[in-house]
Amino acid sequence: MNGLKFYDVLTEKRAPRVRDFERFEYSFEAEISNVYSLTETEKLYQIRISDPEKRQRFTFRPGQFVMLELPGIGEAPFSISSSPSRHGDIELCIRATGNLTNFLAKVKRGTMVGISGPFGTSFPLEKMEGGNVMLIAGGLGLAPLRSPALSVLENRNRYEQVDIIYGAKKPSELLFTYLYEMWRKFDINLKIIVDTPDETWDGPVGLITEPLKERIAAYGDALKTDTYAIVCGPPIMFKFVCAALTEAGLPMQKMFISLERRMHCGRGKCCRCNIGSTYTCLEGPVFDYWSVMNLKEAI
């Protein structure tokens, strides 16, 4: 080129600085330290961040999720089911239903996985202190609710009445059955209902709205002032539960729900979890009911 000097457009100013993007790539090597079978399809995975220092520094709030990655298999978001006080020794309750989760169902202790996060919003448990807390879960919806439940349990004296209302299709699909007795001992009002009973079941049968109505009646006016609700379950459950609570006078901004969406990044980039331009991964997964009412097609 006529003896011209090579002039590189890339100058120091323009070159991306690594630290601009540290946050994007922040991930941990971790190990599946234990696997427990909960039901036929759900397992509880104990996952331990390998580096002891990073494990201790890992903090999250109940309701947040992590992205779990297995090379060559996939990456997917999972709500953290353990208590925040356990730091980087997290527990994930996972149903075998897709590529990654069916693979996970077969892995053994010691398998290395990648964890990034925690991502998303959380249930504002500090705000709820001094009030009553109703945790309402349907099916696998108990997985994200186990973290706030355990957190409330650890600080039981900071809350007034605590309710857990849990509905499942069949008795064999009930999750965390070993915890029920402990929850009751900690003065938690636990109501469990199944839709289709079998011969082992002697508890109530029906939809979750029935025990909910009972509790709403028991609360009476307290529902309008000092009560918070945390709801998670299949989309159809949200509609009925949120409507029943709103009708009974629970203020919309005191009801929190956790939404599920498809996610590929967890960082507000892939757009797959978008509702309008609201990223479920950044502004959710925990929304108050008022925000959800303002999002078309959210529930």
Partner: protein, 345 residues
């Protein structure tokens, strides 16, 4: 802002000094069935290939900063475990010679969500921060509605912007690099007569817009008409093929696939651009689809571009380039859809 002027013959000299880098620009790619040339952003090796007077390209330039397929990370796997390797895929800096205002505006909009947000993405950032952009003014086409989207002019996000004044180019200079390049060719400072000619040129151009989109209160109207019947009608026409997202300069949605090497010693995580019109866009594990019907997905596309993004960033994600309407196999165009939602179609 600094303004300069150079004679038209100097354009090849500007190309030559920039050609020390890799140049991407509009070239004639093929002819359509009526013999009309189709243009595309390609690597330009020779000044003679460059078509600065191109009407518009069929596909935006996004393959250079949002590639359709991109390896995000690779893994080496052995019995002990695995190691992750990350490459942001930064290659040589690219010079974009001849981008229209709409395409530069598209980059500025992408910056907002991909760079100026909580988690800036290095894959886009590495390319975006490593570009040199020469913008060029355009003649509005019948499908262009950029003026209504506020994207017919551009204020930042480029290095220099050329406006054709007949015998010379009027240049807006935004970066020191651009200034230095202009110093190496025969250019001069702009004077009053250049300013007047420029303003005349701008006025002429504005008169040529024919396509119209009324965006008054559009965010509210989209909310009010969320359940309108017209969405179903458009949904029946829509083939859910995703072509609109493919040609769109601002569509950035993606999916991630994992691939295992044949020797089982490595794996790759590959990002591929997606479209919200495709069936599996919002399907979650277990088979539940949050947007099972084609009209819901089409509506979501408009909802994101013209309402959600406005709510988040005070501007629409659509730049009004009209490429989606041109490319659509079912002849669905943005001006028509918006007019029908407003009850004017």
């Amino acid at each position: 802002m600094i303004f300069r002027v150079f004679n038209k013959e100097e354009l090849s000299a500007l190309f030559d000094v920039l050609a020390e880098n890799i140049i991407v620009g509009p070239v004639e790619k093929a002819l359509d069935k009526d013999g009309i040339p189709l243009y595309s952003f390609e690597l330009v090796r020779d000044y003679e290939e460059l078509r600065l007077q191109y009407p518009s390209t069929k596909i935006s330039a996004k393959k250079y900063f949002l590639p359709h397929n991109e390896t995000l990370s690779s893994f080496s796997v052995d019995k002990e475990g695995w190691t992750k390797h990350v490459d942001y895929n930064i290659y040589k800096p690219l010079v974009f010679f001849g981008m229209h205002a709409c395409d530069i505006n598209a980059l500025n909009k992408l910056d907002k969500v991909l760079l100026e947000s909580v988690y800036p993405t290095p894959y886009y950032g590495s390319k975006r921060k490593n570009m040199f952009i020469v913008g060029v003014n355009c003649t509005p086409q019948s499908h262009c509605f950029c003026r209504d989207m506020g994207a017919d002019t551009v204020q930042h996000g480029f290095d220099m912007f050329l406006t054709d004044l007949g015998d010379r180019y009027f240049v807006e200079v935004l970066s020191a690099e651009a200034f230095n390049y202009l110093d190496r060719i025969n250019s001069r400072e702009a004077v009053e007569v250049d300013h007047l000619d420029y303003m005349k040129r701008v006025k002429e151009r504005i008169g040529k817009f024919t396509s119209k989109v009324d965006t008054t209160d559009l965010t509210k109207i989209l909310d009010m008409e969320f359940d309108a019947e017209v969405w179903r009608e458009w949904g029946e026409k829509c083939l859910s093929c995703g072509t609109c997202a493919n040609v769109c300069p601002t569509c950035y949605c993606y999916g991630v696939d994992e691939q295992v090497d044949l020797d089982l010693k490595g794996a790759h995580k590959i990002k591929h651009l997606h479209s919200c019109n495709l069936l599996d866009f919002a399907e979650v594990a277990g088979g539940h689809n949050f947007r099972p019907e084609s009209y819901i997905r089409l509506k979501y596309r408009y909802y994101h571009k013209h309402r959600g993004f406005v709510e988040a960033f005070e501007e629409s994600l659509c730049v009004g380039c009209g490429r989606c309407g041109e490319a659509c196999l079912a002849d669905i165009t943005v001006p028509e859809v918006i007019a029908s939602v407003r009850g004017e179609g």
